[in-house]
Symmetry: D2
Subunit: 424 residues, 4 copies
Amino acid sequence: MKLEPNQIASHNERLLSKHQQRLTFASQEVHNSDHILQQLSDFQIGIPSWALGTGGTRFGRFSLGGEPGNIEEKLEDIGLLHQLNASSAAVSLHIPWDTTTDVPAIKTLATQYGLHFDAMNSNTFQDQRDQQHSYKFGSLQHVNKEVRKQAITHNIEVIRQGVELGSKALTIWLADGSCFPGQLNFRKAFENTLESLQEIYTALPADWKVFVEYKAFEPNFYSTTVGDWGQSLLYANKLGPKAFTLVDLGHHLPNANIEQIVSLLLMEGKLGGFHFNDSKYGDDDLTAGCMKPYQLFLIFNELVEGMDQRGMNHKDDLAWMIDASHNVKDPLEDLLQSVEAIMIAYAQALSVDRIALVQAQQENDVVRCQEILQQAFRTDVRPLVAEARLRAGAALSPIALYRESEVRKELIRNRGNQTIATGL
Amino acid sequence: MKLEPNQIASHNERLLSKHQQRLTFASQEVHNSDHILQQLSDFQIGIPSWALGTGGTRFGRFSLGGEPGNIEEKLEDIGLLHQLNASSAAVSLHIPWDTTTDVPAIKTLATQYGLHFDAMNSNTFQDQRDQQHSYKFGSLQHVNKEVRKQAITHNIEVIRQGVELGSKALTIWLADGSCFPGQLNFRKAFENTLESLQEIYTALPADWKVFVEYKAFEPNFYSTTVGDWGQSLLYANKLGPKAFTLVDLGHHLPNANIEQIVSLLLMEGKLGGFHFNDSKYGDDDLTAGCMKPYQLFLIFNELVEGMDQRGMNHKDDLAWMIDASHNVKDPLEDLLQSVEAIMIAYAQALSVDRIALVQAQQENDVVRCQEILQQAFRTDVRPLVAEARLRAGAALSPIALYRESEVRKELIRNRGNQTIATGL
Amino acid sequence: MKLEPNQIASHNERLLSKHQQRLTFASQEVHNSDHILQQLSDFQIGIPSWALGTGGTRFGRFSLGGEPGNIEEKLEDIGLLHQLNASSAAVSLHIPWDTTTDVPAIKTLATQYGLHFDAMNSNTFQDQRDQQHSYKFGSLQHVNKEVRKQAITHNIEVIRQGVELGSKALTIWLADGSCFPGQLNFRKAFENTLESLQEIYTALPADWKVFVEYKAFEPNFYSTTVGDWGQSLLYANKLGPKAFTLVDLGHHLPNANIEQIVSLLLMEGKLGGFHFNDSKYGDDDLTAGCMKPYQLFLIFNELVEGMDQRGMNHKDDLAWMIDASHNVKDPLEDLLQSVEAIMIAYAQALSVDRIALVQAQQENDVVRCQEILQQAFRTDVRPLVAEARLRAGAALSPIALYRESEVRKELIRNRGNQTIATGL
Amino acid sequence: MKLEPNQIASHNERLLSKHQQRLTFASQEVHNSDHILQQLSDFQIGIPSWALGTGGTRFGRFSLGGEPGNIEEKLEDIGLLHQLNASSAAVSLHIPWDTTTDVPAIKTLATQYGLHFDAMNSNTFQDQRDQQHSYKFGSLQHVNKEVRKQAITHNIEVIRQGVELGSKALTIWLADGSCFPGQLNFRKAFENTLESLQEIYTALPADWKVFVEYKAFEPNFYSTTVGDWGQSLLYANKLGPKAFTLVDLGHHLPNANIEQIVSLLLMEGKLGGFHFNDSKYGDDDLTAGCMKPYQLFLIFNELVEGMDQRGMNHKDDLAWMIDASHNVKDPLEDLLQSVEAIMIAYAQALSVDRIALVQAQQENDVVRCQEILQQAFRTDVRPLVAEARLRAGAALSPIALYRESEVRKELIRNRGNQTIATGL
């Protein structure tokens, strides 16, 4: 489904006068609104192909209907999101769920929607039909070299598919680990994993990156072989200059200071990208910013400061992606909410008075430091985010337009009520 | 599959002399070995019907083969466990997974295996085929009275089936809750749930109990409507004398002092039963005692002290059940390990020198208090647990005999490699 | 130190025009700004006498200078805060630190500052010079009746002093608990504590309340005898209608859903009051709203909804207090930041579109529920909070005026650099 | 106070026959008892000078009496511990608390007690009298170079004192960090700290090591500048071959897998030493093994495996120290309990059937892996630990002898009831 240009136009027209009034006010409240608007326009967040259908837990899944059943439909959905918010120009595919036999057609389709292919994702945490060896006891870490080889081969195949599609990065999330004390030798698991990663690394094209994602726990419940940023960084350093750490906000132990990790990874030149989501207990994979919006802002505060300090390009030098599971919301609405929350946090971080902050830090004026950050966070920058959309031809209020247009109804009509998005 | 009596006998014979030597020593180390042996013989732990197959996570499941495909096969498996350890005489069924059309046959079968039916479990956390209303947004808490009614009716049906089978209790675990702030009104959710529980309570036979299980999170990731012991106790108190709280060891926030909760629930006369398992991060559902065996001992220490103080019968006055998920182990071996760990913890708790402990507590002699508990925990009581099995005609080393007898191989031969236990 | 009226006036004058512009905008953004302004004007937050000096940890304390050395100076400091924000009209005293020999003088002084006496706090977590029995092993829980008696007597003495001063409530925070498994019998500790509380309860005047505060851990590191809301509620229910639970935001296990606890305590008619602060790891006692401002808003969202539903008076029916430790900030500035954050969260909660929220909840429109709450939270209500201050004759920007007036410098000049506020 | 040799002899004589019976049994249960006995005899655990007095929290401290008031008395106390258990031959000093003006006398005294000097500890988390700059806002991280310089100078002075005493290592625990978002720039704090550490590193003698201790939180409650093992390893790698990471068991986020961290640090050749203690909530500094004895065993399991694999010497190649706070126990008894728990865990780890474990891991026989570890943990090795003491001329039951000898009474008689151990 695709919106007609005039649908967006008439939607915007209705909201325009109120929007402009708010924009005027917001532009006065923020010292650098032009800069923020420019940065917001450039910023694009990758949508994971697996997040377009209803998610679930081990206890069950409650489908919504109209879910995309193949890669073409997934592109269609993301295309629609991008029409609505002009901030979702990238697609993150998952192999084998999204393997296509007709690459040129898929590339053409993506181009029509204004989309490009962000990091490719391999899958060695599930057994596929006709797979020779099982990943029940790990993949790249496995004690059996044959199993490792199979997993390596799969990752190289994912790179191959990515090259054809024009992607430039491979994200490796490993479920590898153990459920019980004694089950594996931590050191050997690390060494096996490193050796496997090195083989994959060797297969990377010159202009590619590989992201080593870490996660504290789940689906293994005792140890994870890439369990925290320290371990991921060890791998990335041993692999070489094309290897980076990927941070997923839900992959930490309780109370972790993620923004500090972000800052240090940037310092080391080893931050590769992000999986945005939010959580209260574990890897809850909830909508970005729904639970701890101040933390999201603080993370962006470090990102902006650290990237600027290194002269990095906000848009391209890190991979920005959502990774979420939509168990009780319409996935497309959920993704719109996530993108909105991310853009707000980014805009707020851009609005921080950095000169004043550096000075207050230099004076250990803790009260003032807090005032400066809170000033940025408490200011309502939504009009700036909306204006960036407006200028890009997208909707002032994406969810409102999505609902007015009865998109879900239409998708169910086209795809049926019982479809299940491929994947989990 | 069933073991021949002589299989057990010849297994025991081989181990007997070493066992007796150990038993002699253990009996000297513990001041009340006869009492412990008696208590261990009586103690029986319910096996959940859903834990006989390989478990999984939202990321996947790696089957083992030979899993029971129906209630008859589940009883067969539990019968085998009980042959091996003489401590698994109870079955906890789950409806609708275990609904049977031939109750008398099932009862006869259970009797043949020496099994009886422990608490029945209802399921309103999944949608069953042909179910009119969805539980996507809760069941007993649902804003729509029709949905609540459907869930109530299901629970009453579970009671009906339980009555036929000779069960005496209903366990209600509710996934009800919310994933996002604002999604529901906590108070109304509580009130709806209470009202629903009251209707179910009314349908309880006079000699039945209902257990209200609590859980901190998962599958809902913001709030759970029976989220902690305090909430469960509120429900139980408002319901009446047949309502009790059920404690699952994995259902708490990080660092919770579960043994204190146990003690206070006993004090209030409202502890109903247990779901044993172990965990490191959340509701990991690992083998009992595999991660924090000292905690398991401390819990039993409170149970023994608290039950004795109230004159309760260890065997019958609480419902003792395992609730676990066997993702990387043979489920039957895992259950044997769990039962062994539980029996060890129970034996250690029974061996605590209570007179000395009370005196040390009275004197605030904290060092001595710790010495007394550690003395019980550090003493190797496994020979007592083995002796209790021996006296009951079970195996000195259940897992060894299970493996010698090549049970899994036989189950796969009989049931096939691709069977999936009904349930999750 | 006291500000001259014209200091405030000239401060406000400079900021007025900008303020009015913002106020106009904010009043348009919020549907009920008049109501909010009225509520904000009424709302008063108690300042704890022990938070006026620099706090510390077991590792040390870094004093600031100019700290109040007696109750007169503490009242002076709070009077100043109240001049600045018109929202700190209440004082929460701590006995014996704030025991006075001249009650009439203190009452007169308080009246001059526009202050009244909020809940009184007893102290049985420290040994005072000349105290007969030690609280090393607890106070109201102690195995020795003589120790309990001493602690009961102290609490009754605190009530007596409170009556003289015009306070209407006693807050009991107990450090009682244990550091090691086995150290105490949980049930007996509960029973002793209950018995002790009952004696104190008996001594309460008819128009007094007693607040039973709970805390998960610290200074005891294994168990706490009033460890969570469930335990506190048990005590409160057993004590009677004048006993209530007091919630301190930092007194929970990781990831606890505090807003749900608040809602249920209101439902039970047993929420008595609040200790505001913020934290990342434990009872960090940081500035309210500095870490998780959305959580603070969600808590106020439940407070407003729950109080309104019960017809409670926002201002008087709960005790609103700060409890914080100012280790690296000027305590007075820190308190101003806390009050500001609390007022913002309260204003945002008041601005929630409740009719729409109820409807969205009724339809399980989770996306909409989230939008409604985020709309309230993302709106910048600071102009409303400032306006409430302005109308009450306080400062538009309290911290700015505090700094312009060089208050700390003056306090150091008057009181010296080495003064230590009585207390911890 | 010092025990007479015949006191120990007569104590042992009374317990000998029972002990020998137990030893005989334990030696049969364990396949390598001779090896274990040898290793236990060699193993020595450093006692921190600051743990000889009663500890406290920010809420207070309850003294015991008879606490050592100077370094001579501290050595006396540790000498006594070493007489009792023959496993406490090392002292870990803290400067400036233990600065001595008469080094030769102190060295002679230590030698008389059979003690040597383990890692020296610097203190830049408190302000000392007459100190020019405050550490309120950090030391090695401080924005002001003068403050950093002062802290560097202090560390170099600690090395100097250590060299005189014969120590070979410096432990740097930094409280540096921040309490509020925005307070510091994480990257600059890291860089300042690194630069400072490099200056200290340069001052290290050739045969010295420096240990960089990490801690998740407290006394700073937002960020810590050496916050986790990943950060510590970054510093250690950047510093050079004499820099190592030091692990304190209480310095992690909830649920951290410490044994995996230990294994990986050993793999990297960067594990330097240990601070043993136990905890339930945070850095509770409780007696080693009092809360999670299985975790302690699992850590030793990794230590033994990893050290053996690298050909490391158990006794000397890592620094083994206790770091605890004795709030409710007699510190000397508490230390005896800690050492006992550590020796038990070490003995159990030594008894693990490594050949069988490697094979089971190679076969992914998870059940067997668990059985092997649990076999080691459930076996009662206390007789081996006692025998190692006996052979070294120490007491079979150290705490019993300590109590029989009425040591505390004597210490109070000699030192008085109101003495306070220097330090916290």
